[in-house]
Structure formats: structure tokens, C-alpha cells
Point group: C2
Chain length 315, copies 2
């Protein structure tokens, strides 16, 4: 049985703990902050009805969680260690150095960093080959995605181990091909976030209006199809091939504060063939049908869960 240690028990660390306990693991957690154990146990209690609703593994129990104030003690017998300390590069490097020195040399180490590149994190370790970024999404005990990013010194063997481990706790693993600040998802989220701040800053809309502009339109679509398949579908029968011809010129327009890449022939081909490949096995009409059935059920579901509108319009 794999033994797990979780280092750092903030929102993300506690989310991992709930997921791992629910999957039937023993978890040892450590965090130097005062009151950390109590907050952690409260967070796990809070998450528990939700992981129960998702389905517990056999033998899963909150009683299989222990707190150990001393990091070296917490990690020494672990086969797998998830690091979740605050997003400060020097702090993460120090803590990882500490983990590296006290853990078994073949224990896998995953860092939850949302933006730092794994090569930076593993640079000064004795056993850098077993470090990956493993970036989850809040709430970790519900959302399936984890971005696994190997650094320059990570070996294929440990990437495979990481993939197997995270899939084993019911996650959807996305191996990131090349490390970059913010990995993949946070680059998209940061673009939305920055543009949203510009819109509020310029008085175009309130935060609530920006949110509504998302949740009542495109946000509904994004639970199912991402930015590429969404546009592939908006192109009608011609798909992305038609879409890029029609909306390519908009990349030159001042529609966001973000500079667009040049739509070269090479990029055009990458995007078109990518969309065609990822929708292979389904015709445009089947994709369309699939989306409509989903959206109707989602729309029915989400209406109960949207927050109440508070903003008065200016009409």
C-alpha cells in the first residue's frame, strides 16, 4: 500500500487530503502554521459529504489521516509526497530541499505550484529526477484535472509513475509537453482574469456583469468543449477550416488587450488538423447534436445553482 505525505495544508493541500482519503489511502499531513491541524480537520469534514457523494473507495476513512508537525518525520516513510506550500519560489525550493533530504530516494514528489516551472524547483536537489509539477484545480476533491509537468531532470520513469498514481486517485492527467510559467490552464485563466480586470477597471462592467457575460453564454459551453472545439463547431459544416478564414482577421482587431500571434500557414494547419483529429469518429452533426443534448441538460441543472442577481441595470 502506497503511503502518502501532504506538505502544506492550505486550501489546495486540504483538497488533496480529502481526495486521497476518499480513495482509500493513509495520509500523513504536515504544516508549521499554528492551528493547521484543526483547520485541516475542519476542511476534511467539510469536504467529506461531497467525496461521499462522488463515491468512496473500500476502506476509505477520515480516521486514516494523521498530522505530524515535523516535516522530516512526516515524509520519511512516504512513497508519494504532494507539496502545497505558498506560491513563493524560494520557499518552495527550501521546502522541497528539506523533503528531498528526508524522503526515501525513490519517493515521487509532486508540487502543486500553479505557475513555477519544475526545472526551477528541482534544480538543487540530490534526487531531482523524481520531481514533477502536479497542478490540480480547486476544489481538488471534485475537479478531475491535474497537469503533470516534468522538469529537465525528471526521468520518464517518474513521469509514468506520476501518471499512474494520479489516474489511480480518479484524476484526469494532462502531461504538459514543455514547461512554461503557468503551465497550460493557468495561462488561459490568467488571460481571462487580466481581461476581466481591464473591463472592470475601465468601467465597462461590474464584476457581476462580467461573470454573467461568461456564465450565461460561453461558460456553459466550456464545461464540455474547450476553446478549440467550441470554435470548430461555430464554423458550421466547414468547422475550424472555415472558422479561421472567417475570424482570422479579427486577430488584428483591438478586441482584447492581448497581442495575438501571427496566423501563419503552419499555425493554421496545426489548429485545423488538431480539431479534426480530436473530433475524429464524430461528424460535425454528431458533435453538434452531442453539444445540444448536453447544454439542455446543463441549463436545466445550473438554473438551480446560479447565484441570485443583485445588480440593477442602468435602464
Amino acid at each position: 500500500m502506497t503511503k502518502i505525505a501532504v506538505v502544506g495544508t492550505g486550501v489546495i493541500g486540504n483538497g488533496w487530503i480529502a481526495r486521497m482519503l476518499a480513495q482509500g489511502y493513509d495520509v500523513v499531513a504536515t504544516d508549521p502554521a499554528e492551528g493547521a491541524e484543526e483547520r485541516m480537520r475542519r476542511a476534511v469534514d467539510h469536504a467529506w459529504p461531497h467525496v461521499e457523494a462522488l463515491g468512496l473507495a473500500e476502506g476509505a476513512s477520515k480516521d486514516r489521516l494523521t498530522f505530524e508537525a515535523d516535516l522530516s518525520e512526516a515524509v520519511k516513510d512516504a512513497d508519494f509526497i504532494q507539496e502545497n506550500v505558498p506560491e513563493i519560489e524560494e520557499l518552495k525550493q527550501t521546502v522541497l530541499k528539506n523533503i528531498d533530504q528526508h524522503a526515501k530516494p525513490d519517493a515521487l514528489i509532486g508540487s502543486s505550484t500553479s505557475g513555477i516551472m519544475p526545472s526551477e524547483l528541482q534544480a538543487n536537489l540530490d534526487h531531482p529526477e523524481r520531481v514533477v509539477v502536479a497542478h490540480p484545480f480547486h476544489p481538488v476533491y471534485i475537479l478531475p484535472l491535474v497537469e503533470v509537468v516534468p522538469g529537465k531532470q525528471t526521468t520518464k520513469e517518474f513521469v509514468q509513475k506520476a501518471k499512474d498514481f494520479y489516474e489511480g486517485i480518479n484524476m484526469s492527467v494532462l502531461i504538459v509537453r514543455h514547461e512554461i510559467e503557468g503551465h497550460i490552464a493557468d495561462r488561459l485563466l490568467e488571460a481571462i482574469w487580466r481581461e476581466s480586470l481591464h473591463i472592470v477597471n475601465e468601467g465597462i462592467a461590474t464584476t457581476e456583469e462580467v461573470d454573467k457575460a461568461f456564465t450565461h453564454g460561453a461558460g456553459l459551453r466550456y464545461a464540455q468543449y474547450g476553446p478549440f472545439l467550441t470554435f470548430h463547431l461555430a464554423g458550421g459544416e466547414g468547422g475550424m477550416r472555415h472558422m479561421l478564414k472567417q475570424f482570422g482577421p479579427a486577430l488584428k482587431k483591438p478586441w482584447t488587450k492581448l497581442e495575438a500571434p501571427e496566423l501563419t500557414d503552419e499555425l493554421y494547419e496545426k489548429v485545423v488538423s488538431g480539431c479534426e483529429e480530436q473530433s475524429s469518429g464524430m461528424t460535425m452533426s454528431e458533435l453538434d447534436q452531442n453539444r445540444n443534448e448536453f447544454l439542455i441538460k446543463l441549463y436545466d441543472l445550473v438554473q438551480e445553482y446560479w447565484p441570485q442577481e443583485t445588480t440593477k441595470t442602468n435602464v
Copy 2:
């Protein structure tokens, strides 16, 4: 009974037609393209089972759709006209001029433009006061959002008329306070789109991987809470107030190709108070509970509808 004319029967025009017919209106459509009528009727047939699933208004029927090749004939008796010709400013201006001359002077005109400002569209009309942008989302017959943007010459009376009309066809109306290219939603979508293109262009990920990075994590959250409430919740008990302190510095980091606005005290206050106001009536814990219940049901639903994965990982 309000008479509706729809000018331009592409993907968006046909989406409007299906929605309006389903809500029990008579619709006259016009489009100069060869074969337009046949394509329109096929599109309405395709949409019909979905609008039926959403629920038809009394008397709603596909038989209440007529096609009229001559624009002046199509609009002359209409109380409400929706324009959906291709996204070329000069073309839209010409068509709107034509509509303006042949429609009743008090007929409301909505333009589906995704990016052009209404003041540009109404500039040379005899009755500019009745023109608004009314920007919907594909598929128009399912997604509820419509961004209504008044131009400089639009009167409050016509904004109110537009709001009443679109709410009457079961839409969620977002009045945009100040016109800007791309209105609100398309600025966010364009930011995601441009960043996605950068990621594919730089070989960080395939289109499928970018899509997965969205749909299996943040995309699930966005059906319910937009960018602001999502971050408000990620801040734990401290909400956005804590979040901005912790992640404000990330605005300086190279996490996207998009330049961020300066996080001034004024912007800080706008964002924090906006989030607090829009979640008023619910504690952080209630918001959190609400999100978890929704996500679990959504996750259960969406798994049936996600496209099959085709990309081989490089491990």
C-alpha cells in the same frame, strides 16, 4: 402580436429564427444568398427537437416561418428586426441603412454583431435611436445570454423595449454600460482564444490538450460562477479580499501574453466590493456548498458528453 423580421440567415440568424418560432412568433426571414431558404429550413428542422425539449410556447410552429427574398418587403411590417449579416462593418452599415429606410420608424432594430460598436452602426441612419447591438451566443436557440449595447444615439425607451423583447423570448439580458469593441463576453473569449493560439503556436500543447486543460478543470466551474466569483471562492474565508493580496503579484508575472492593468487601490476596491455585493445573501460557506453540489451533478452529467480522447501522451 409582434411581427419579427430576421435579416441574414447564417448560423446566428437561423439560431434566432428557431428561438423566436419556439416562443410562438411569426417570423419573416430574408437573405440574398442562393439556396438560403433551403439551408434556413434545414437549420430550423435541426434545431426543432432541441427547442421542443426546452419547451414550446403555445401555438409555436415551424409553419409560421416565411422567406422573403426582397429585404424591403421582409421588414416593412415588422415591429422588431434582427440583423445578422457577415461581420464586415461597411456591409452591416449598408444593410442597416436599407432596413432603416423600409421599416416602420418605430420598429426596433437589433444587430447581432460580435464586435462592432453600435454608434458605428447607427451613425448614418434616419432613425438611429431604435438601434441596439443585441449579441447572442451560439447555439442561440439554447444559450440564454444576449448582450444589449446601446449606441450614442439610442434612446432609453428603445433600450427598455429591447430588454423587454429579449426577456420575452426567454433570454437573459445583459445591458452593457459603455460600448467597446467586442462588448464584454467576446473580449474574454478573444483573450482565451489568443492565448490558446500562442500555446499551440509555441508547441506547448495540441488543440486537444488545451481543450482538456479547460474542460476538465476551470471550464467545469465557469458554467456556474464567472471569473470573479470563482476567484472569490478560491480565496477561502477571506474571499476576494484575501485572493487579491495573495495573487495580485502574479499580475506582474509572464503568465500570459496579456499585459495586466495596474492593481490600484481603486481597482482593488471595485473588485472586492463587486464580489461581496454579487454574493450578498450567501455566506462563503453557502457559496462553497452550492458550488460543490452543482459540480458533482455537472461532473456526473458531462462525462457522458465529453468527446473521446484521441491524443497519445508522450510518456
